[in-house]
């Protein structure tokens, strides 16, 4: 029994056929899973771009301000609306408690999106397409993205960042 010492030489007792079959199936499945994630990493269409760099809050702040000044086309709820050209570097800054600026992107065009925070960790969760990228201060998380649907998108912060966390909601437009 499990609560008492086992019989002597328990390690010599052969395994039953059932156990061997089960372990074999489990090992094969584990190998399949182990190979499947890297396989999908190279063939899938929704994978990290692996282009992060370290960046200080001040530097990122300056880069975002420059980006806004360059391509600003309007304003909404006190935030700049920015329409960058195709294939350009685009920026979103996370800070307590806003995502800024509001991007106006074109469908089917690739952009290089730079995400960082100038204070806490934030979660860049885009709805209703539903994906989440982690935003960490001190790091520029770079993603090569191509919008595939047009419409109005909402960016919700899903990493707790302080008492106003639930008000941290941003916008993005794709024509």
């Amino acid at each position: 029994m499990s609560l008492g010492s086992p019989e002597k030489y328990w390690w010599d007792e052969p395994l039953d056929k059932d156990e061997k079959t089960w372990v074999t199936v489990a090992i094969v499945w584990a190998i399949f899973l182990t190979l499947y994630m890297p396989y999908k990493h190279f063939t899938g269409k929704q994978n990290p771009s692996q282009e992060y760099t370290k960046v200080s809050g001040d530097k990122f702040d300056a880069a975002v301000d420059k980006f806004i000044a360059q391509y600003k086309v309007g304003e909404e709820k006190g935030l700049a609306v920015v329409a960058p050209p195709p294939n350009s570097d685009i920026f979103i800054r996370g800070q307590q408690f806003k995502w800024d600026p509001i991007l106006k992107l074109k469908k089917g065009v690739q952009y290089k999106l730079h995400l960082s925070s100038i204070d806490m960790n934030h979660g860049f969760s885009v709805q209703p397409v539903n994906f989440t990228i982690q935003v960490v201060p001190g790091y520029d998380n770079v993603l090569n993205i191509t919008p595939t649907t047009s419409g109005v998108f909402t960016i919700i912060c899903n990493e707790y960042c302080g008492l106003g966390h639930h008000t941290m909601v941003g916008r993005m437009y794709v024509d």
Binding site: D18, A26, Q50, G138, D140, T167
Partner: protein, 503 residues
């Protein structure tokens, strides 16, 4: 020396009285924290169910932080310490190597737990269980966790010292029992993990106190999860040791193969501690190659161990019941199983819930491609309430129904309520877990006070399906809380006023 022991009339084991006292105090303290964590859970779920929206935001985030600390640290670790003393001293007929060290560990853990609790309730440590820097808590918050971890490490060392004493004094013959072996795997994982935790909380606490500069936020995330997820693997190993114990206690099951089960525990000790980078799959700062190595190759060797236990635990229950003559058809043994024994029904809820709800979703969300859909959504708490609550907590509850007569020497009070308790708790938590994962699949964030986004500059609605899902989550939580309250009342009443078992 002989006066320090009593002979257990049911099992014939020699119980070391100082060990028994330590098991009692740790078990009682754990249940007190379970009660606190449960009451907090009630307020949290009725806040997230927006039809009620009970708490204001500051209290919601504060209680959420405390709920994590009370449940994941206090309730589970205190109970694990009791399990360690039980599986070493009691099961091996041995004396506890150094009871004073057990008390020292208990005092450190308790001072630490209270310190962290006070820091949170004081309102300057609303940092969530993860306390990602630059979020800053009071230095007391970190100091409390460090003291708690050091206390728990002392308990683990005492466990191994007791194994050595038992071997030296020849209090048992041959190998240690399987349950003790599993507890040893848990203790090995615990020492490494808790030491890791104590070490990285120290610089974080010193930063909070203004002594040293802040560590890199991504380095913190990596260090935190090397600790935070690995501590959950202590729970897994301890839970599975409890499963084998429950299978033996409820239906007299014997392990189908000692070699098979023990090999699986060795795999845990070797591999389960890695694999923590699935929390960081969409983080900057760590390469995909490293993340994939960490979350697939190594993880799957630990998963293999879980698959082996997933075979051998139900198998030993089936074999034991078939030996009792329930051999008709494929499932007579299951039909005629002792469903009225709360420890047995708990065992089944725990095994099935951990495997099908917790384990499978864990593997799924731990892949790069699915993680981008689920990261920080309610899918994640849905997953870990299946592993830690349905799995570990229920296994510990099931064991409590035997600890009460065997260690506290009291008959379990309100036997009818005890029979029903696992069904309330099990059905409730299964509902909570499934509903949370369902709602999370719509992108609903975790740790969020207001998903209607009423105070936000831009509006977005998750839709009526999500409202329904949140209401179902709350309904499941109410059932679970009734079950949890029944458990606490039965346990506390039995300890205080249960009929003494005849010596």
């Amino acid at each position: 020396m002989a006066a320090e022991f009593r002979k257990c009339p049911t099992t014939g084991l020699m119980v070391h009285l100082p060990a028994q006292a330590l098991i009692k105090i740790n078990a009682v303290t754990s249940i007190v924290f379970l009660l606190i964590g449960g009451i907090l859970a009630l307020t949290l779920i009725f806040t997230r169910w927006q039809a009620v929206h009970l708490l204001p935001p500051d209290l919601f985030y504060r209680f959420l932080t405390l709920h994590g600390i009370a449940m994941l640290f206090a309730w589970i670790v205190y109970f694990e310490v009791a399990v360690l003393y039980f599986t070493s001293a009691v099961l091996l007929n041995s004396r506890l190597a150094a009871p004073w060290a057990g008390w020292l560990g208990y005092v450190l853990m308790t001072v630490g737990a209270l310190m962290t609790t006070v820091a949170i309730l004081a309102g300057n440590s609303d940092v969530m269980f993860t306390s990602y820097v630059p979020l800053k808590a009071s230095p007391l918050y970190y100091l409390g966790i460090v003291l708690f971890a050091v206390g728990a490490i002392i308990a683990c060392v005492l466990f191994f010292a007791t194994l050595a004493v038992a071997k030296h004094e020849k209090t048992y013959e041959g190998s240690v029992p399987l349950v003790t072996y599993g507890a040893a795997a848990a203790a090995i994982i615990a020492i490494g993990t808790l030491a890791h935790g104590a070490i990285f909380y120290i610089p974080t606490g010193l930063w909070a106190a203004g002594v040293i500069p802040m560590m890199d936020p991504e380095a913190y995330r990596l260090l935190f999860w090397g600790f935070g997820h690995s501590t959950q693997q202590i729970n897994v190993a301890a839970m599975i040791a409890c499963w084998y114990a429950l299978a033996t206690l409820t239906v007299g099951a014997q392990p189908v193969s000692e070699k098979f089960s023990r090999t699986a525990f060795v795999l845990y000790a070797l591999f389960i501690n890695v694999a923590s980078e699935h929390h960081l799959l969409w983080d900057p700062g760590i390469s995909s190659a490293h993340k994939m190595w960490n979350t697939s190759y190594v993880l799957h060797l630990a998963v293999l161990a879980s698959m082996m236990h997933a075979f051998s635990v139900p198998a030993c229950v089936e074999v034991a019941l078939r030996k009792k003559g329930y051999t008709k058809g494929l499932f007579e043994w299951l039909k005629k199983a002792p469903w009225g024994n709360p420890s047995f029904s708990t065992l089944i809820f725990s095994v099935a819930g951990f495997g099908f709800l917790g384990g499978i979703t864990g593997i799924m969300y731990g892949t790069e491609q699915l993680n981008i859909l689920g990261h920080n959504s309610l899918r994640v708490p849905g997953h870990f309430h299946a592993t830690v609550v349905i799995g570990t907590s229920m296994a510990f509850m099931g064991l409590t129904y035997y600890v009460l007569p065997l260690i506290f020497q009291r008959e379990v009070m309100f036997p009818t309520a005890a029979k029903l308790q696992p069904y309330f708790y099990g059905v409730g938590m299964w509902t909570v877990s499934i509903a949370m994962m369902f709602v999370g699949s719509f992108g609903v964030p975790r740790r969020h006070w207001d998903i209607t986004l009423a105070d936000a500059p831009f509006q977005y609605s998750f839709g009526p399906t999500v409202d329904l899902g949140m209401a179902i989550t709350a309904l499941g939580a109410v059932l679970a809380l009734i079950g949890g309250a029944m458990f606490c009342i039965i346990a506390v009443a039995t300890v205080l006023a249960g009929k003494k078992v005849n010596q």
